[in-house]
């Protein structure tokens, strides 16, 4: 199909979509309506389980089994990237050459690294209370770790995040989510049902199972993103494809980073 025909086809499809979508939107409840039947019930259920952050309650309590599926997508995508970006037979691993880093950049990075990690742990830890949670805090934690790469160099990053260990942590955290659901079955309730003591509303220990699942998700997202970024950084920094010549060829390949 040539470009012209494809554009014409797109325009026809877009016109049909636009008309049907606009017609469908006129049937939606008005924008800003005060009637949200599902939302009101979710808020009621969340207050009843003493979880101040209703979004966390929906994700880790009321729809926990959906979040388990979503977390499996995350795990599968990380696994897929690791398989796709592994070192091929015709590629070599080259030791990265450290670049020059401005002392001020180094100072700022070294100062911000602990602060960022603390913020990540805080956002995960307060997932049931304040905005945030395992998914958001996990990403903060993982990207914060990469300040070591920005402010220092790749070898420092390799030391602060051993990818083999973090990959194992990723798998363990993904398994911990599934295992936490068994708590419900042990006491005779449903899988992933919130059966732990609920605690006091708006306290760190409130919400029963929510903070635990939240922590498992936080660890899984953080380690998953670290492993994912490690694969891309390996491609950019370490792995050398054949057309670029065999510079830095080693007599024995270094152990796989993952």
């Amino acid at each position: 199909m040539n470009r012209r025909a494809r554009n014409v086809l797109f325009l026809i499809a877009a016109a049909v979509f636009a008309a049907a979508f606009t017609a469908a939107c006129t049937g939606l409840p008005a924008f800003g309506t005060s009637r949200h039947p599902y939302g009101s019930r979710a808020i009621g259920a969340s207050i009843q389980r003493r979880t101040a952050n209703v979004v966390s309650s929906v994700n880790f309590d009321q729809r926990a089994i959906d979040t388990l599926g979503e977390e499996s997508i995350l795990f599968g995508a990380v696994l897929g990237s690791v398989v796709l970006l592994r070192r091929a037979r015709d590629e070599n691993r080259q030791d990265p050459v450290p670049g020059r880093v401005l002392p001020t950049t180094l100072l700022l990075g070294a100062g911000l690294l602990p602060v960022t990690l603390l913020v990540g742990v805080y956002v995960i830890g307060h997932g049931q209370l304040s905005p945030g949670g395992g998914f958001q805090g996990g990403v903060v934690l993982a990207t914060g770790l990469h300040l070591a790469y920005v402010a220092a160099d790749y070898r420092v990053l390799r030391r602060v995040r051993p990818v083999a260990v973090i990959g194992a942590v990723d798998a363990a955290a993904a398994g911990a989510f599934s295992a936490l659901g068994l708590a419900g079955l042990i006491v005779g309730a449903a899988y992933l049902q919130n059966v732990l003591p609920l605690g006091t509303f708006n306290q760190l220990t409130s919400g029963g199972l929510v903070p635990l699942i939240n922590a498992a998700v936080g660890v899984e997202v953080a380690s998953g993103v670290v492993v994912l970024l490690a694969q891309f950084l390996d491609q950019a920094v370490e792995i050398e494809s054949p057309p670029d010549g065999g510079k830095g060829r080693r007599t024995h390949p270094s152990p796989e980073a993952s």
Partner: protein, 114 residues
């Protein structure tokens, strides 16, 4: 004009699809897919909006305050996470295509290799 926020979501979707249709670079196509997907965030948050309401977190507002719909916010959170990981997976495919075929232009990728 209460229809405008929903129509904005449809417009973002079409912009993303247009980018994918006319794309000459696979990295650009993956970016366009992310744009098309972000239209679902706008649509979901638009559906869940409540006039004059605050965030659905009762840590510092009294219980019973008018808040926006938390269910769609949880759906958007799910959406964002899945979108980010799928983008990463697609980009690793793009890296492999560039290595094996030496091009990122989808129009030049016509041959099938066994």
């Amino acid at each position: 004009m209460t229809l405008l926020p929903f129509l904005a979501a449809g417009w973002i979707f079409l912009v993303g699809v247009y980018g994918m249709v006319t794309s000459r670079n696979l990295v650009h196509a993956v970016g366009c897919l992310a744009v098309a997907q972000s239209s679902t965030y706008v649509l979901l948050l638009g559906v869940g909006f409540r006039k004059g309401a605050t965030a659905p977190v009762f840590a510092d507002v009294p219980v019973g305050t008018s808040v926006v719909d938390p269910v769609v916010q949880a759906l958007v959170l799910t959406d964002v996470v899945v979108g980010a990981t799928v983008t990463a997976l697609l980009l690793s495919l793009v890296i492999q295509i560039r290595k094996r075929y030496g091009t990122l232009d989808p129009e030049a990728l016509t041959g099938l290799k066994g």
